[in-house]
């Protein structure tokens, strides 16, 4: 069951690496033990992924807390705390059968009570409101059975049971009436996952130690994971090259990627990010003139050379993206208008929209914002667009923001013409895509809502249907229609999938390549050849 293609292949490679060693070593369960040092610039607010999304918390939370299901590298659900699951014919009931031997780090057993408590807590507190909105109640007929009752069929639920989205919290800790969002246990978490948090030195590092009563026998393989919080990206790269840190998750810089690819003792992979589905895009304020005219937005799409951005600005490390669903998702529709670079077409559309060039050849002047801090994905593209759009008579003023809060305030309050942005799909459209396009999610003051103020009743209708469609084929058809309409309406010009990469020290086996990558338990990861320190 657990012998997926991936673990088989990696296992075989591990075997090759071990061939030089005497046989006894292999028999001893080679590669168990040892410490893994992870370097990350992401400072977690706390460790409870039930009330906090984002990769800074997901990385530790998925080690500390187990979830009902986990996923392989092909989007297939795998048993985790739930050894089996069953969706009723009408799609209104999902029954989970829990494993019997799972305990929390404090020794108390994991029961269906905890599952019910966690699901309702996440529904009430997690920022992704649509994720569990359909859940009405969770019944617990016996300690190892949880029955989730839904208001309507909710196919996204299975993916929502992933480690990054549905950590199972101990009811006996969190059920004490305190606000879960600021519960003291969020900094001293007790879960049932493969590792327990043993030390948190604020601003420096946190330590996860192997939970020896973890319910999957023989796991986790590592004794200890230390996550070092390194604020400077250069220092992080140097540390990875030196081998001070054995793993760097979630980096995107082309030079960083190339640098670590060249480092002799490092393996770099872009696998493990399909679930997060991070897109880098140009968003329009569709309520502002002249961007309220779809032809102007389309023209900008034709005038911007996506090929150039991806190949040259991003050194070919990023995949182009042409629609709202990230490449790598089985729901991505490739057959949409790609906005292939075409200056003549752009000019024609602008003419039709009535934006005539003045004496100096200028049709209009617009501003473009970008998220500070990730120049290659954001600022450089904005700068490029300035020169690219000049060729079709659009004067673009690049408006820098000194830091994230400044940018977020502008965009959330619709105080922008165009902005670069990075938004995550989070696996299922219901969880991470709908928010950008549903007209009901135009909410001033809230970043990463429908800040484009895009409203199309047809899109609202399709998304509503697709969210409840149990048949995978029909669902796929609905989403493909949705993608075609949105690309045509062009509230957003899609540029690329954010080229997230993870580096690993050579000598590690079973690298995490599932759709959730390192935002899922690292219980299989092990040292084939441990580092010398």
């Amino acid at each position: 069951m657990m012998l997926t293609k991936r673990s088989f292949v990696v296992g075989a490679l591990g075997g090759i690496a071990l061939m030089g060693l005497p046989l006894e070593t292999k028999a001893e369960g080679a590669g168990s033990g040892g410490t893994l040092v992870i370097g990350s610039t992401q400072v977690p607010r706390h460790f409870n992924g039930a009330v906090q999304s984002g990769i800074a918390t997901a990385l530790p939370s998925t080690q500390i807390f187990a979830s009902p299901l986990r996923y392989d590298d092909n989007w297939n659900p795998q048993p985790y705390l739930a050894e089996s699951w069953d969706v009723s014919k009408d799609g209104l009931t999902v029954t989970l059968k829990l494993v019997k031997n799972a305990t929390f780090h404090d020794g108390k057993p994991v029961t269906s009570e905890d599952v019910a408590f966690s699901i309702m807590t996440i529904k009430a507190n997690h920022p992704f409101k649509t994720m569990l909105a359909a859940v009405e109640s969770v019944d617990t007929p016996d300690p190892h059975t949880a029955v989730i009752e839904l208001a309507h069929p909710h196919p996204a639920l299975l993916l929502a049971m992933s480690p990054a989205l549905m950590p199972i919290l101990p009811k006996h800790v969190y059920g004490d009436g305190q606000d879960v969002k600021s519960h003291p246990a969020n900094l001293k978490p007790i879960g049932s996952g493969p590792y327990k948090l043993t030390e948190y030195k604020q601003g420096d590092y946190y330590t996860l130690e192997k939970f020896d009563k973890f319910f999957i026998p023989g796991r986790p393989k590592l004794d200890k994971i230390v996550v070092r919080l390194i604020s400077d990206p250069n220092a992080l790269m140097v540390s990875a090259e030196r081998g001070d840190v054995h793993m760097v998750p979630y980096f995107t810089g082309v030079r960083d990627i190339e640098r670590l690819e060249k480092a002799p003792n490092v393996v770099v992979t872009d696998k493990g990010f399909a679930g997060i589905g991070a897109l880098n895009w140009l968003a329009f304020n569709t309520k502002k003139k002249p961007l309220d005219d779809v032809r102007v937005r389309q023209a900008i799409g034709y005038a911007a050379n996506r090929e150039f951005i991806v190949k040259k600005l991003m050194g070919g490390k990023a995949l182009p993206s042409t629609g709202p669903i990230a490449p790598g998702s089985p729901l991505e529709e490739k057959n949409v208008d790609q906005y292939k670079f075409d200056i003549a077409k752009a000019n024609k559309l602008l003419d039709e929209a009535g934006l005539k060039p003045d004496g100096a050849g200028v049709r209009t002047t617009l501003t473009i914002d970008y998220i500070p801090g990730n120049d290659e994905q954001q600022r450089n593209v904005a700068e490029y667009l300035r020169s690219a759009l000049k060729r079709v008579g659009i004067n673009l003023e690049v408006r820098a923001a000194p830091d994230f809060p400044t940018w977020a305030q502008r965009v959330a309050n619709f105080d922008f013409d165009m902005t670069m942005d990075t938004v995550f799909n989070w696996g299922d459209p219901v969880i991470g895509v709908d928010r950008t396009y549903l007209s009901s999610n135009i909410r001033k003051g809230i970043i990463w809502s429908n800040t484009q103020q895009y409203a199309n009743p047809k899109v609202d209708e399709i998304l509503g249907q697709a969210a409840q469609e149990s048949s995978p084929d029909k669902r796929k058809a609905l989403y493909s229609e949705f993608q075609k309409i949105v690309v045509e309406d062009a509230p957003i010009f899609y540029i690329n999938a954010t080229p997230y990469h993870t580096s690993f020290a050579k000598g590690l086996g079973n690298l995490p390549t599932t759709v959730w990558g390192v935002a899922s338990p690292l219980d299989e990861l092990y040292w084939v050849t441990p580092p010398k320190n």
Partner: protein, 326 residues
């Protein structure tokens, strides 16, 4: 008695100054665009209006700024520095966790700056117009003019990558934690690069100061007397001249404290040193007002304390000041 009166006056001044610092901090921080709730919502991947409103109410951000300020001042008067929006912890605890690291860094940097600076100053004072003297001046000025983060990155690449002999991040070895004496040695090893980076900035000032004073002292009558007695040059320099050169340096050390904290923000970020400087950086980016105000307040307390202390030490060392100040 006079000293006590003087000290009392200084303390009264300090309290007034700190109050001003608190008010100023509050105003400056709230002048910056951006909203902490927005940041928290952003990091959560978006939030509903209800969540946003609840967060605002929870942190008292729904009150007017004036109200917020008086609430804050009242709390600080009771030793309560509030609760960090971002780190979900009481600010005082956060700061106390981070304070030692910054103090180590500041102390080590001062030692680096004073030692290297004084030695360079003394060397160049011996032949003020010689090639060596000019070389030292240029080097020291270059160290002073180079941006801290640039020096930091340079040293980081040099000793972290090209010639990897020193640790480049954090304060301790997290894989094999040490205890006792080995722990101290471990921290010291991690401290080398950050303290040199921060110390280099101030080397120029100390070397200039030492140089000028040394030249001054070397032309004094008692030096001529010492030389006339036939004392070896080394003894003249170290025993007679250097001592008198050190007095103004001690004063400047006290005044330097504020600058050290400013520099620490950058150095701690480059080397992931878990001190208050990095906390400032993190809290600015997150508009974590209580943490930011807390750190700034504590920095102000320390700068003021250092100044009072220097003033006292100076009065003790040099009787002329005591007479003049009255």
């Amino acid at each position: 008695m006079a000293l006590l009166t003087h000290l009392f006056g200084k303390l009264a001044n300090a309290v007034a100054l700190l109050l001003a610092v608190l008010v100023m901090n509050f105003c400056l921080i709230h002048l910056a665009p951006g909203d902490p709730v927005q940041v928290i919502a952003g990091e959560m991947g978006g939030a509903s209006p209800e969540v946003i409103a609840a967060l605002r109410a929870k942190y008292g951000l729904d009150h007017s700024l004036l109200e917020q300020m008086f609430t804050y001042l009242g709390k600080v008067a009771h030793g309560d520095f509030g609760y960090s929006y971002y780190f979900n912890q009481p600010v005082l605890g956060l700061i106390l966790q981070r304070l030692p690291a910054t103090l180590y860094l500041a102390a080590a940097s001062l030692v680096v700056a004073v030692l290297i600076g004084t030695v360079l100053g003394v060397i160049s004072a011996r032949r003020p117009n010689g090639l060596l003297s000019h070389g030292v001046t240029v080097l020291a000025l270059a160290g002073h003019a180079a941006p801290i983060f640039w020096t930091g990155l340079l040293l980081l690449l040099l000793f972290g990558s090209v010639w990897p002999i020193l640790p480049v991040n954090g304060m301790t070895d997290v894989v094999n934690p040490k205890t006792g004496f080995a722990y101290a040695a471990d921290v010291a090893k991690h401290l080398v690069l950050p303290s040199i980076t921060l110390g280099l900035v101030f080397v120029a000032q100390y070397s200039r100061l030492a140089r000028v004073n040394m030249i001054d002292v070397l032309s004094a009558d008692y030096i001529r007397t010492a030389r006339a007695k036939g004392l070896p040059e080394r003894v003249v320099l170290v025993k007679h001249a250097l001592r008198n050169t050190l007095i103004p340096i001690v004063t400047v050390v006290g005044l330097q404290f504020g600058n050290l904290f400013a520099g620490a923000v950058l150095v701690e970020t480059v080397y992931s040193w878990p001190g208050m400087g990095r906390l400032v950086f993190d809290s600015i980016l997150r508009r974590d007002y209580p943490t930011l105000m807390g750190v700034l307040f504590f920095s102000a307390v320390m700068v003021i304390a250092a100044n009072i202390l220097t003033d006292l030490v100076y009065r003790l060392i040099d009787p002329r000041i005591r007479a003049g100040a009255r």
